[in-house]
Amino acid sequence: MASDKENVTTFTTEEIAQLGSLARINITEQEGQSLTSDLNAIVHYVAQLQEVHTENIEPLGNVHGAKNVFRKDTASYYANVDAILEQTPARSGRLIQVPLVVDHDEN
């Protein structure tokens, strides 16, 4: 992707709808317009970073350079399993019930 400000995407409402689909959010007609102009404003604003020369700069992940944080392999049973399941909107016994998954592979 070119790091040239002129190549910054300008979204159409269709593209916003596609992004919405990717993120599982329906964009209504009314929202579509304002979200599109909002996203355009935002992306054009943040795109100014592309002008910064960062060839030799390491991306910053953990701010303190933390590393190797682990836990030991011991199993324990969570005390409030039932409290967790009580929050589930639809269940069949102990199983979480959702509309049938149509496009699936066995994994």
């Binding site: 959010i25 979200l35 909002d38 604003y45 100014q48 970073l49 960062t54 910053l60 909107p89």
Partner: protein, 490 residues
Amino acid sequence: MTDLLFAPLTDVQRALESKTVSSEELTKDFLKQIHAFDRLNAYISTFEEEALQQARTADKKRASGDTSPLLGVPLALKDNIVMTEGETTCASNFLKDYQSPFDATCVEKLRNAGAVLLGKTNLDEFSMGSSTENSFFGATSNPWDETRVPGGTSGGSAAAVAAGLATAALGTDTGGSIRQPGAFCSVTGLKPTYGRISRYGIVAFASSLDQVGTMTHTAEDAALLCSLLFGKDPLDATSMDKEVPDFDLSTTKDLKGKTIGIPQEYFTDALSGEIAQVVTAATKEFEKLGATLREISLPNTELAVPTYYIIAPAEASSNLARFDGLRYGTRAKDVYGLKELYAQSRTEGFGKEVKRRILTGAYVLSSGYYDAYYLQALKTRRLIQQDFHTAFEHECDFILSPTTPTTAFQKGENVDDPIAMYLNDIYTVTANLAGLPALNLPCGFDSQGLPIGLQLTGKAWDEELLLKAGMLYQRQTDWHTRRPSLTEGS
């Protein structure tokens, strides 16, 4: 009694210790006050029964000699911190009925210290915003001028402390969400170093930026809470094992030998003239304390807001992917088909700002754009952090700046202009990006009587210096003791 409602935690401790007041009485009074000022909409929920129960227990314990540091002290928590009482809503339709089966680690610590937990305060939905207007439960009003916002996203916590509705409150700060409302409401607000306080139980917004912080009447109160909340948590891999500082003021009487950096890039046209004046005046107080002021440069300051508004939405879009209504939360009704169910639940559940951020985040992480946006932002983040490291290594011991470019704005003023809203964070996002501790100190008022705050930013893990500087400043000034004039009713 009204005095105690606005008293610092340290005073409340003393009153409880000397049995001048019981926790039960104090808690009752706070609950009454909360109701009397319902209109401020600082709280989303109050736990009347539970709080009174906790207060009575605290009184009993005190009678039998218990000296837990927060015994019987009434506190509030931002509603993105999970608790087993009531609901944790994150001010979102999506979680409006969600009951967490577990307490956040910081909540456990408060409980162990004997605190009374009054309720959950309002915020911008999922901590996204700068005004606490993006709440499913309506906006919170600034106690100093109810036509104005209290700031965000910890606006409810700030308003609660400012209006005498809690002795202190916890909030969270991802880009300024404690410090900015602290400045707007004249509350001392601390964002500690990233990794000081466990994020386990904080509903994640931006994982590499979020941090629990304190909203208190004084820096001394903040120090007290920090000494209880700091520490490595095995349940949070980003929490760090660092020695908890000793905040004892008796060992530090002044700031002699300390250099305070004033970043030249912060004093631009974007900054209100009045704030510049008031903050500059405040620097004189620090000189009186023996510190040397020095102008410094943080050359990459301009990159901070765009960097933040790539990283934060990216992480947010990811962290909010779990909200699908399948296992908990609001599931859309009368929807057939799984993909439709996901979309409908999320569409109904999330407000506009949240949607904006999720879409932005999805975009900057998608292949083809990742390198130019997200990866690039991680690099500019390092540049920004380097600026601070250089300053602290060669030039100064901590940095002083305004906290916000303006005082509290009118409700509705920035709601439709995302960039204008984002620019509120101009002085605060840097500390989150660099992982550094930063403290808002009330330092004056503008000509309309609106609070102004100054911000101290310190080296990583150096809350001790920041809070001591704050305590010393608050010893010789009284801005932090001013109260809004609130009238009951209407």
